[in-house]
Each structure stands twice: as structure tokens, then as C-alpha cells.
């Protein structure tokens, strides 16, 4: 998951950029649009993989935790 160094935040950002790109176009250039769609589709796919159920990791640290302050 995170070892692939896939960055969900960046991917979401990029996805948003693509949406904005489309919004900005008065007339969408079909070629360029198709490129964006291709990229977007990949981002969506990757994001979905990342957002699929991933078990949380739980680790108890600082075992002694300075508990014996007495």
C-alpha cells in the first residue's frame, strides 16, 4: 500500500486539476481531453485501490511510558 509510495492526497489533487481543466475549456480539444480522461481513469482506479478496506495498524509504543513516576 504505502510501499508503492502512491500518494492519495496528490492523486486526489491531480484528479481535481483534471476536472478544473475541463471546466476551464470553452471548447474541449478531443485529443487532449482523451489524454486527460485516460489519466483520470488511472487515478480513479489507483485511488480506489488505496481506499479499499485496509486494516489499521496498531502498535503500543513506549511500553514503560514512565508509569512508575513514584
Amino acid at each position: 500500500m504505502s510501499d508503492k509510495k502512491f500518494n492519495l492526497k496528490d492523486s486526489l489533487h491531480r484528479l481535481n486539476e483534471i476536472v478544473e481543466w475541463f471546466e476551464e475549456q470553452k471548447e474541449v480539444d478531443v485529443e487532449a481531453g482523451l489524454e486527460k480522461v485516460k489519466e483520470g481513469a488511472k487515478l480513479v482506479k489507483d485511488c480506489k485501490v488505496r481506499l479499499a478496506e485496509i486494516e489499521n495498524e496498531f502498535e503500543k509504543v513506549k511500553e514503560e511510558a514512565d508509569k512508575d513516576s513514584e
Binding site: 500500500m1 504505502s2 492519495l8 492526497k9 486526489l12 484528479l15 481535481n16 483534471i18 476536472v19 475541463f22 471546466e23 475549456q25 471548447e27 474541449v28 478531443v30 481531453g33 482523451l34 486527460k36 480522461v37 483520470g40 481513469a41 487515478l43 480513479v44 485511488c47 480506489k48 488505496r50 481506499l51 478496506e53 485496509i54 486494516e55 489499521n56 495498524e57 496498531f58 502498535e59 503500543k60 509504543v61 513506549k62 511500553e63 514503560e64 511510558a65 514512565d66 508509569k67 512508575d68 513516576s69 513514584e70
Partner: protein, 497 residues
């Protein structure tokens, strides 16, 4: 393991920590002290061999540790007075023995502060019964005093926690106080209100101070008690988004929790986390007092990462919650806060996908329309060209037809012409014939010679026909024309009418 040595090391550590004003685990972790007590290193090399002791630690504490370890060896510490029959103890050894025994009598005692002597590092004071005669000498390290967040005044009612201890140079017994708490809701409420006002004036609760909880947090620092439903509620409500939770177990109940909580927060200060979570179930002002501790509250306010507090409470919101970057009142709600941006991400992805495909669909259908439109235009243009052709063709055809008709007409005319000519000529000729006949008749009728036959004559002179007397003179010769010839005659007399 040498437990006596371990206790000594721990006592030494506590003092160092107090002197430095840091949490004791910052000096040495328990594990390190345990290893020292186990292996009893007697020189630098041996000490450095213990995990957790590096150059920096050694330079700072090495000598002191070695002194403690080495001193504990030669003098067998009396654990029971009977163990030394006949042989008297030194005063120091006896006091050491007593202190070891006394250290087992950890206690909480209640009374009111009756006198105070504030020194640089330590505060000496005495605690007496509110309605009795008992008095005990006490001391508290300045550090612990500050940590308690309580201002001592003569008459302040408190509960002290600590151990009795005899100070060797004076032989005086003091209650070594490790923590102080106020007594009763009233006092707590007053302290709470005062501190709240103070922090508020400093602007510590201001909204603009608060940091945003990072989007898609993943590394969570968690501080709470290991026991109880709180941690369970938190973990079960956390979405399965691959959170990495680092958990530090801490006491959360009463004043005693302060030190634990501070050290836990402190622990996370240099750890790689996105957000720090502090949770606890609800409780009274008294049970929550640690979360109203000034030192803890300030540490939370100054923490270098966003902090979420999920501390249940009754009327008064814990000050720790008020300074936190985000505050909710249940562990479940904290879990929801952490889940939020993940859930939103799921939604964003769906939305983004929809939008992109929609845009493209629209773009494509616009293209199709443009193409169709162009096609239509071309079709119409061509059609109009062909239409023109047809029109021209038709008009040409029509022209031909009319030409043909005309030619047929002409041809017919040509064919009919001779006949007409003939007919007309016949007419003309017949008429001419008639005319000739009638002319003949007329000519017969009107022929002067015919008149001559009838007896009339024509008189002429010089070629002209004489009609009037004025044309002649007396004596003039005239020709008289009669039927069978002429004769000359002379005008004798002219008789005018």
C-alpha cells in the same frame, strides 16, 4: 536483577529529571535502568555496552551511574536489622535502611498547608490536619510543584501523594511529595475558572490559533488508558483506511495522571505522526482534573502537530480540549473526525470520475453535432447545386420542347403556305379578272370614241381638248374630231352664254 540497585537508579533518575525539569524517561528508559541493575557495569566500556547508552548519555550521566553501581557493591545494604547481629550500623547506613523501608509507605495524605519556604529548586512546607493537631514536614520539587498547577497558600487544603524520607544531613523526616491535588469540587471549580480566564486572556483558545486537522491523516498518535471502553470505542469506529496508530498507554484519572499524560504528549513531540489524539471517557471535574492542569494544557497548546481531544465532560469543558485544535466529547466522535476526509476522498473520486466522463461525453457529442451540422450544410449545398441542375435541365428541356413545338409549327406553316398562297393568289387573280372585266366594261362605256359614234365630237387645239369658249379666239383654226376622222374649222364668232 538487583532490585535495590534498580530502586537507587530510579531515585537518582527522578532527581536528575527534577533538576533538569524533564520527564524521567528522557533521562533513561526503564529498560536501560533494568539492564544496568542486571549487568552492573563497573567501567565505561561495560556501561557503553548496554543498549540505550551512547556517547552523549555517557558524557552526561556515565560517571554518576558508575558511582551508584560501584557503591552499591561493597557495602551490603542491610535489608533487615537482624541481619547484622552485634555489629552497629553507621548513621548513614541506618538512615539508608530506614529510607528504603519508608519508600514502601507510599501514601496520599490530606491536610492544609500551614507554612511555606520556597527555595530555588524545592519548596519546604508543612501540612497539618484541618481539625487536628498532626503536622508533617513536606517538600516538593519546584518542578513537581509547577506541574501540579496549584498555588500553595497557607490554608490551602490539598491531598499530597508521595513517600516519607529522612534527609541525611539533618535527620529530619519529610514527606517527599510527588503530586498535589486540590480538595473538593468547589476548589477545583475555582482553580478551573481562574486558569480558564488566564489562558483565555492569553488567547490560547482563539480559533485562529487552531491548526487544521490534516486531510487524509494516517499516522495517529494515540494517548489514553489501555483499559476501559474508550480505546475500544475509538478503534472500532475508526474506518479501515490503513491508519497507523501509535499508542501510548497513560493514566487518565485524577491529578496523578498529569505526569503520565505530559510524558506521553512529550513522547510524541519528535515522532512522525500526522495528528495526536487524546481521549478519555466522561467524568467529574475531579476525575478530569489532569486535563485542566496548566502544564499539560500548555504542552498541548504548543504541540507541534494538530491535536484532537475527545474528552467526555459534564459542565466544564476540559481546558485541554479548549486548547486542542479540534475538540469533541467522545472517542467515537474523534474517530469520525479522522474518518471524515477519507470518506470525502471516496466521494471526491466518484464525483471526479463522473465529472470527467461527463465533460468528455458532452465534448464528444458537441463534436458529433458539429460534424452533423457540417454534414447537413454540405448536403444542403450539394442538394441546392443539384436542384439548380435539375432546374436548369428542366428549363432547358422546356426550352427544347417549346423550340420543338415552334419548329413543328413552322414546319406546319411551311407546309400550309403554298396552299394558302395558291388560294390567295387565286382569289387575287379572280378578283383581278373581275376587275379587268368590269374595267373593260367601264372602258367600253366611257370610251370617247364611242361618244363620237353617238354624234358627239371633240374639239382640240394644239393637242388640248377645248372645253371653254375662253380657250379659243376668233379666227383660230381648231381640229374637230368625229367618228370617222377629223377636219379643220375656223372660229367665226364666239357666243358666250
Amino acid at each position: 536483577m538487583d532490585n535495590d540497585l534498580l530502586q537507587k537508579l530510579k531515585a537518582w533518575r527522578q532527581n536528575r529529571a527534577n533538576l533538569e525539569g524533564v520527564a524521567s524517561f528522557r533521562v533513561f528508559a526503564n529498560k536501560v535502568l533494568e539492564n544496568i541493575a542486571e549487568f552492573k557495569p563497573s567501567n565505561k566500556a561495560q556501561l557503553m555496552a548496554i543498549k540505550g547508552i551512547r556517547d552523549r548519555k555517557f558524557a552526561k550521566y556515565g560517571e554518576e551511574i558508575l558511582v551508584i553501581v560501584n557503591n552499591s557493591k561493597p557495602e551490603p545494604l542491610a535489608t533487615s536489622l537482624d541481619a547484622q547481629p552485634g555489629k552497629p550500623l553507621s548513621v548513614s547506613a541506618y538512615i539508608d535502611f530506614l529510607n528504603r523501608q519508608l519508600s514502601k509507605w507510599h501514601a496520599r495524605i490530606q491536610g492544609e498547608v500551614s507554612s511555606m519556604d520556597i527555595r530555588e529548586r524545592v519548596i519546604y512546607f508543612s501540612l497539618k490536619d484541618s481539625d487536628g493537631e498532626g503536622v508533617i514536614n513536606c517538600l516538593i520539587w519546584k518542578n513537581d510543584y509547577k506541574l501540579s498547577g496549584i498555588e500553595f497558600e497557607v490554608g490551602t487544603e490539598v491531598i499530597l501523594e508521595g513517600i516519607p524520607d529522612i534527609y541525611k544531613p539533618s535527620g529530619r523526616l519529610s514527606f517527599k511529595t510527588s503530586s498535589v491535588e486540590l480538595i473538593g469540587e468547589g476548589a477545583l471549580k475555582k482553580a478551573y475558572d481562574q486558569l480558564k480566564k488566564k489562558l483565555d486572556n492569553e488567547g490560547l483558545f482563539l480559533e485562529e490559533r487552531k491548526r487544521k486537522i490534516p486531510e487524509l491523516p494516517q499516522k495517529i498518535g494515540l494517548i489514553t488508558s489501555e483499559t476501559g471502553a474508550v480505546i475500544h470505542d475509538f478503534l472500532t469506529n475508526l474506518g479501515k483506511y490503513g491508519f497507523q496508530i501509535k499508542f501510548v498507554d497513560s493514566r487518565v484519572e485524577g491529578q496523578a495522571a498529569v505526569r503520565n499524560l505530559i510524558s506521553a504528549v512529550d513522547y510524541f513531540s519528535d515522532k512522525d505522526i500526522d495528528v495526536l489524539v487524546i481521549i478519555r471517557g466522561g467524568g467529574s471535574l475531579e476525575s478530569l482534573q489532569a486535563f485542566n492542569n496548566e502544564t499539560l494544557v500548555r504542552i498541548i497548546a504548543d504541540f507541534n502537530k494538530p491535536v484532537i481531544c475527545g474528552i467526555g465532560h459534564e459542565k466544564d469543558v476540559p481546558l485541554a480540549s479548549l486548547v486542542a485544535d479540534k475538540m469533541v466529547s467522545t472517542p467515537t466522535a474523534v474517530a469520525h473526525v479522522l474518518n471524515a476526509s477519507w470518506q470525502e476522498a471516496v466521494h471526491k473520486i466518484e464525483l471526479g470520475k463522473e465529472q470527467i466522463f461527463n465533460f468528455m461525453r458532452v465534448a464528444l457529442s458537441e463534436r458529433r453535432e458539429t460534424v452533423n451540422h457540417a454534414l447537413n450544410i454540405i448536403e444542403r449545398r450539394f442538394k441546392s447545386i443539384f436542384d439548380n441542375f435539375t432546374q436548369v435541365e428542366e428549363s432547358l428541356k422546356r426550352s427544347f420542347v417549346s423550340l420543338q413545338l415552334r419548329m413543328i409549327d413552322i414546319a406546319r406553316t411551311l407546309v400550309e403556305c403554298p396552299r394558302t398562297l395558291y388560294t390567295q393568289m387565286s382569289h387575287v387573280l379572280a378578283k383581278a379578272n373581275q376587275d379587268v372585266v368590269s374595267l373593260e366594261k367601264l372602258m367600253v362605256t366611257y370610251n370617247p370614241e364611242r361618244q363620237l359614234k353617238l354624234g358627239y365630237s371633240i374639239v382640240r387645239s394644239g393637242g388640248a381638248v377645248i372645253r371653254k369658249t375662253s380657250q379659243v379666239r376668233q379666227g383660230q383654226t381648231v381640229d374637230v374630231l368625229v367618228e370617222d376622222g377629223s377636219f379643220e374649222s375656223e372660229v367665226k364668232k364666239i357666243n358666250k352664254k
